[in-house]
Symmetry: D3
Subunit: 79 residues, 6 copies
């Protein structure tokens, strides 16, 4: 009876969207539940999946808020 | 000094409400803190309780988003 | 389908024990599951409870490891 | 940069083992990271996966420790 | 590659604000990432920080929702 | 009343040690509690810090267990 928690930033996969879509969430739920079935033989109905979307301001990486860190990395990649 | 995290779907207990009410949250906080006092003798003032309400789209069960899984189970129960 | 996570320090409730006993864990599981049934009408079989025991060294309070913080408070209480 | 936390009971998939094997852990890590790549286009190197094995005594279901709940269900299935 | 999760109540540090500001979040991210670098020599770019703001209703302390517990303590401090 | 959870791999900072030392844990607890005091004015005694050490096998990065991913990166850096 696994519990899988998936934390992602709240942003879209295309420029016109600002969050993960319902279809994408369903695909994540299906995919990770299947992994637990395939690897550990856990029946689908015993797995809970919780998706947590985290605002970009609330996610830090490299000692910076994500947006600033991405800019820094993009600038470094160019130089 | 326990920490109790309670994750529930964001939905009401009656059809006219779409989330857990403030009274219900207070009752959960009171109840689980009391369990820790009764069983482990932890003083109420040393217990933190955090309630996380999770959107139905973000909670998966049976490899599906919750709403779809419930429909599937309800259909199976009828047949 | 709630998930309740209970984090407590790994220590006994009596001097001769160094961890939470199996009976105490069962009582915690029973108690918090019952709270979710009573308050939100969640069936017992849809609630998962996960108990995490945390070594005393790994739990901080008051900016100190727990054991040191307790000593500090006990000393302050005497003075 | 997702974080995926997988909580499972500490037990083997065959009677001769008492925990998840290193190969199974590697397969879980590979599988869930791939789901995030496929669905949200997250590069593998930005995904962290944390597997938490939970002792059977510390996992509750149906208001009971897991082992007792499984026995109860098995008995109910027979009757 | 540490993951640091910071859970705080959703409220401002001054009366005119009702949540943690973007500047405060950036300072938390910078500060805790630096601690991991200083103490464990973890490079900044390997540390993820996730800040979770919890509504006051959803945080319990002393067996009560936070706002009620604070009132109770303030009243006790006066008497 | 913040809760700070610090997840790190269970390994030493020098070759002769296989886990985080008690002194390092105390420094982490002190450091992150101080950040919350400095930035959000949270009193030290209201902050809980929980350190979770995760076995290397149980931490995935780049779709691989950590040790394999580090080897892959080290090999790539040389070429």
């Amino acid at each position: 009876m696994p519990i899988v928690t998936v934390q992602v930033t709240r942003e879209g996969t295309t420029p016109d969207r600002s969050s993960v879509s319902a279809e994408e969430k369903a695909a994540i739920i299906k995919g990770v539940s299947q992994v637990l079935l395939d690897v550990l033989n856990k029946p689908l109905e015993s797995t809970y999946v919780v998706i947590e979307e985290v605002d970009l301001d609330n996610w830090g990486w490299g000692g910076l808020p994500t947006v600033q860190y991405r800019k820094q990395r993009a600038a470094a990649a160019k130089s």
